[in-house]
Symmetry: C2
């Protein structure tokens, strides 16, 4: 079934919210639903929309998968507490690191995370909570990229022939599937979310695992997490579409205390884009690049080299994994 | 024995040339010497100096090791022909690729190239030519970095306790060993070399093998050679100290013809430096970065991502390997 796109400029948020609230209520009936909030724009908007429809009958979880950004759980739960929405934090980091052990191929990494989320963590939650529905923030770009074979988005199933009910034992409701990122932001604003949420830069489903080239280990996540904090800190004022730090698997020669070291390299990316389908590197001032690089090599001793990506999408993609 | 540095500002090139010509003549006596010209500044200057001292009794070879830049052999031989110096081209690419097969560690790569040069190629040449001396363009920075354990320069032996006579069967003469890069350029100018030679950007002894992270193969050299041509083309007018393209071993996700590909990444570096001991990335205009990246992804289909290095030395080094 072809999904009918609603462009941001044609989106009437109030009408859309009303329709989706009814659809969600109809689908869930008198039962319960669950959803996982990562703190990203899409899952935040779906959380607000779902609570508008179901109130306390929607149980929202923040899954600490061990590959989130610094302080993510406390930031996100505090933000939603202000909105009157209670988030339960669930530690599942061991399950994710076990699934990622020894996996270097990007698609296999994405698949390992998908399987851990849907077959293990969500299924356990569904059983525990007696919910029959999972609400999630899949958007049209996720579907496009997965169907086209560009990138397997962790939240796309039906469009590639997987029936979630059969595969995982629960139904998936995707109220944002006709929208792209700009439409979702407009909706978030109409739902009363603060700008710090609806205008937050996109963050991938596989989280920091998408920011590590090669095998993902707790040690590598620690390095890329620090670099992510610095990069986000320094670039938040640019209002760029998205920015990130990527830890390479390659080692490069460097010097520390006058001696040769075989150190890590961090690649930074900062994108100008409207809807993520095409993107160009932001023309950052050189002083800003030098400041980011200077902080990374000072605050992360394992790193001896920092680069800035200068390629457009296509042929690049926004994320490296 | 501590080497006494001669700083470029204190160098009297005419006097230095006169002294070194006498020293070389005294060392070689009535015999023959050989040297290998890579086309870099140091080996070009030592070739000119050696021919001034020994004339036809110095046999100069261009060793095609398979890891040189595009058209290097014909460019270099043509330049020296104009100066009245005949260069013999020797194909040894099989020997080098065999030695590099399966070697991923930077120091082991450098060592494989060193051993192939000194134990195999030069020794064969010494035997064939009946020369007893090898003239080479080692400079003080090479010695410093090797002794300090920063980077094993292929042309440094005595300072780390290797006697070339014992190890390889011939003596090594190093007339430039008290100089750094800026002194060598001053000397090259005084020797009547054209600016295109004495002001050429530095190029490493291990050639393009120093520009490939991980194992060096003919296929990878082909990619990095193309990227090197583009980078040198676009950056020659900047008059920067050194610029280069590096092929990563890591693969990153990209898109070609609407499909996902798992492609190569090229890292570019452009350095401002006086003597290579410390260096900072050149603040290139963004338009120039975009042009380099645009040409690389257009002309090299294997590459989907290009970065620019933004780290100073230290903790980076100029080369990645």
């Amino acid at each position: 079934m072809k999904i009918k796109e609603i462009k941001a400029k044609n989106l009437n948020p109030e009408k859309f919210i009303e329709e989706k609230v009814q659809e969600i209520q109809k689908a869930v009936g008198k039962g319960l639903a669950i959803n996982a909030l990562s703190g990203g724009v899409d899952s935040s908007v779906v959380t607000a929309l779902g609570h508008k429809a179901l109130g306390e009958r929607l149980k929202t979880y923040f899954i600490n998968n061990g590959i989130m950004r610094h302080n993510e759980a406390s930031l996100v739960t505090a933000q939603f507490k202000k909105l009157g929405i209670r988030i339960e934090v669930l530690d599942a980091s061991n399950a994710f690191f076990s699934a990622l052990k020894g996996v270097a191929d990007p698609e296999e990494k994405r698949e390992a995370i998908t399987q851990t989320f849907y077959k293990k963590v969500f299924r356990d939650l569904v059983i525990k909570s007696k919910a029959k529905h999972l609400l999630q923030g899949t958007i049209l770009t996720d579907v496009d990229e997965t169907v086209a074979g560009i990138k397997r988005q962790h939240n796309v199933f039906e469009q590639i022939g997987i029936d979630p009910q059969e595969a995982f034992g629960y139904k998936i409701i995707e109220p944002l599937i006709q929208l792209r990122k700009d439409g979702v932001r407009k909706l978030g604003q109409a739902l009363g979310l603060p700008e710090s949420i609806f205008d937050r830069i996109p963050f991938p489903g596989p989280a920091l695992a998408a920011r590590v080239i090669g095998e993902v280990t707790p040690g590598k996540i620690k390095i890329v997490r620090k670099a992510t904090t610095i990069t986000e800190d320094e670039l938040t004022d640019t209002k760029a579409f998205q920015y990130m730090a990527i830890l390479h698997d390659d080692r490069v020669t460097g010097m520390r205390d006058g001696k040769r070291v075989f150190g890590n390299q961090i690649e930074t990316r900062c994108w100008d884009s409207l809807d993520a389908r095409t993107a160009t590197p932001t023309r950052l001032p050189f002083e800003m690049l030098e400041k980011i690089s200077g902080r990374i090599i000072k605050e992360i001793p394992e790193v001896v080299s920092v680069t800035y990506n200068i390629t457009s999408k296509p042929p690049s993609t926004i994320e490296a994994v």
